[in-house]
């Protein structure tokens, strides 16, 4: 990349950069070179102009009404006000959502830790779990264990979950050395559930949480019997 390119190579590189077919690392290299490489910049500019009319082939899409307020609040709200938002502030965080949507659970959890660390009030460690759908990693629920006493737990919905008739959602957890998951009860879709885990050992990092689809009155066996709708592992937050 750092050896000088002949014109044909330069054009090919600029063309594929603008077209979008360069792999991530090469894209980044081009973007790094652009400010200092006038020839490459001129080639890229020319390609942008040539291909720009193709943007008209994408059908317009109306943004959701929340998008502009979100942009305006990121740009124009003073920092002090934004950071007072606690929970809301971090789950409005774009990076958080982007990684959840695109990446694995581990990344999501790590990021959640970072974000939460910045925003949580002092008071000792707590735990956080992001429950995601196993297939597409779409986040559905968040479990938060309070700072002072990790036996107080809230299960918070991030959106609606549709439940077929005569079925219900059941919430489970399983510690590292436990033989089987333990039921934490039935969950109402879209509603926060607050629990006290006094009969269970204190929460641990990596502790598994999941929501399964079960018969209306809950699993008849005391163990999960239906498909896992959401799953995640606890991470410690300061």
């Amino acid at each position: 990349m750092n050896t000088p390119l002949n014109d044909e190579e330069l054009q090919a590189l600029a063309g594929e950069y603008v077209l979008g077919t360069l792999p991530l690392a090469e894209r980044a290299q081009v973007e790094q070179r652009l400010p200092n490489d006038a020839a490459l910049r001129a080639a890229v500019d020319a390609w942008e102009q040539r291909l720009l009319p193709l943007t008209a082939l994408a059908p317009p899409q109306d943004p959701s009404p929340q998008l502009w307020p979100r942009i305006a609040s990121t740009l124009f709200t003073p920092k002090a006000i934004k950071q007072a938002g606690g929970w809301q502030a971090w789950w409005n965080s774009l990076a958080f959502w982007r990684i959840l949507a695109g990446g694995g659970l581990a990344t999501a959890a790590a990021l959640a830790v970072t974000v939460t660390m910045q925003l949580q009030a002092p008071g000792g460690p707590g735990y956080l779990v992001v429950l995601v759908a196993p297939q597409d990693k779409a986040p559905g629920w968040i479990v938060q264990a309070s700072n002072k006493n990790s036996r107080d737990l809230s299960l918070i919905p991030l959106g609606p979950t549709s439940v077929p008739q005569q079925k219900s959602l059941q919430f489970w957890t399983k510690g590292k050395d436990w033989g089987a998951p333990v039921s934490l009860g039935l969950v109402q879709p879209g509603q926060t559930l607050k629990l006290k885990l006094d009969k269970l050992p204190p929460m641990q990092a990596e502790q598994l949480f999941e929501i399964t689809l079960e018969p209306e009155t809950g699993s008849p066996t005391g163990r999960p019997t239906g498909p896992i709708l959401y799953i995640g592992r606890a991470v410690k937050v300061m």
């Binding site: 077209l19 979008g20 720009l52 943007t55 059908p59 998008l67 695109g102 694995g104």
Partner: protein
Amino acid sequence: MPTPAATYDYDAALRACARGEQQALQALYQQESRYLLGVALRIVRQRALAEDVLHDAFLSIWRRAGSFDATRGSGKGWIYVVVRHQALNVARARAHEISADEDTVENLLHERQDDEPADAYALQANMGKLHDCLGHLDESKRNCILYAYVDGCSHSEIAKRVASPLGTVKAWVKRGLASLRECMG
């Protein structure tokens, strides 16, 4: 109510953003967001992600408006460039993360194929010279270019869509671009 694109002054809007005029950014958003979101959505293929792209792109537009240089291209073009590259970076970064999961990629591609006509897009005559030059390419090269630019497909995604070997697709893209440049100047 958006102004007809022909009379809206994109360059002036960017200069106003550079001066810190918040209403200018909002007006630009009202003017162009639905078209920009359309472009981003084709590339990243998930609505929430596309809105994130647009959010971040508007941050960049606001912060980098001062670096807009009208001698390098139109203001409108500059805005689309910011949005497209934001979307492409997200698409390429995601491809990294889901590459292990071939099924996901397969599913995505099949979903897309179902609603796609055989010859990728109806080209529009108002694209001027590009329209003519794309018309001169043979169909396979033209589709490679369109799948990449409009749908944000990587080489391997194009290879799957057109059911051709990866090496062939890379050569088509290269030669397609070279022919386009020759034709358009």
